[in-house]
Amino acid sequence: MTEQEIIEKTNKVFEESFEIEKKRLVPEAHIFTDLGLDSLDIVDLIVALQNAFGVQIRAEEKVREIRTLQDIYRFISAIKNEKSKKSS
């Protein structure tokens, strides 16, 4: 999966599951202050990302460090890379 595909799929999660307009989904958007999520919305976000990417996201330290959309793209990319390494 390319970086661009990860970005598009992640943005689609925000558009469809959180009804956030496409124009607000810029990499530097802060998910709490700019997009309006709160700490408990993260649980719904993780479920939606898991379903969209077919990955397991554990409540690990890295999740708590996520602040911007760019952080999410990087986080998903790392999980995907790890998964493909394991399967190969």
Partner: protein, 252 residues
């Protein structure tokens, strides 16, 4: 503001606050005695019901004092019966909002921040009547106590902006009310309060004359929101209230 207008405003405030103190000094002990008396004959649940009703009566007395300088109008556009417990979600412009909730014909508790519990006498009564301080509880504890209230037939009032907006621009919503709805399946009722942004304005106790309107909109039933998550649900309700406030402010 001209000198005579300022003087009239001063007299109005003197009159209102003097009567609020006087009526509180009589009504609070009288209502307390009434509740204590009913406790002799009723269960804890029955007593709590009367206690919350007494608080509502007190609110009606307090909001009637400034009439006709300040008028309170309840506009029920819901056609919902009083039978089931609801989760009321309201915009929040003024410190007077908590008192305005006396217009609701339901047994209610309010979800509050820390400071209302610190108000002398009223804070104690809020605590005793089961108001929940969302800041002092864990999410799990809050959900458990709120669901218990709903299952006992008690409606819950939220001001999900968390703080007074102090203007006509509504702040974004916190998600607790909507998470509670998704977990409890209770119907959510949007409430729109208009005309109270200067009664009193934020950071002041000075009341200005005007008409406050509390408009109750139709309940949103579980079937209508069950497929949403808390985030989308809160934003939908935010837009419903925002649109209705625009309608109200255009004079309709």
């Amino acid at each position: 503001m001209t000198m005579p207008a300022r003087f009239l405003l001063f007299v109005l405030n003197l009159y209102v606050y003097a009567f609020v103190l006087l009526i509180s000094a009589v009504a609070i002990p009288a209502l307390t005695l009434f509740v204590a008396f009913t406790r002799l004959f009723l269960s804890h649940r029955g007593t709590m019901k009367r206690f919350r009703r007494a608080i509502s009566w007190y609110g009606k007395l307090i909001t009637a004092i400034p009439y006709p300088f300040i008028r309170l109008r309840y506009e029920d556009r819901s056609k919902n019966g009083p039978g089931e417990p609801y989760i009321f979600v309201s915009n929040h412009r003024s410190a007077s909002d908590a008192f305005l909730m006396c217009v609701l014909p339901h047994e209610c508790v309010q979800i509050v921040n820390i400071w209302p519990f610190r108000i002398p006498v009223l804070g104690l009564y809020a605590r005793l009547s089961g108001y929940l301080n969302i800041r002092s509880m864990s999410h799990e504890q809050f959900m458990s106590e709120a669901k218990e209230l709903l299952s006992n037939g008690v409606s819950i009032i939220f001001f999900p902006e968390g703080t007074r907006s102090a203007s006509r621009t509504m702040g974004s919503f916190h998600g607790a009310a909507f998470r509670l709805a998704l977990e409890s399946k209770a119907a959510v009722v949007p409430l729109c309060i208009a005309g109270n942004e200067h009664i009193p304005p934020k950071g002041s106790l000075l009341l200005r004359p005007g008409t406050i309107r509390v408009r109750r909109l139709p309940a949103i039933a579980w079937d209508d929101y069950k497929d949403l998550n808390a985030f989308t649900f809160k934003n939908r309700v935010w837009h419903i209230i925002e649109n209705e406030l625009s309608v109200m402010e255009s004079g309709v």
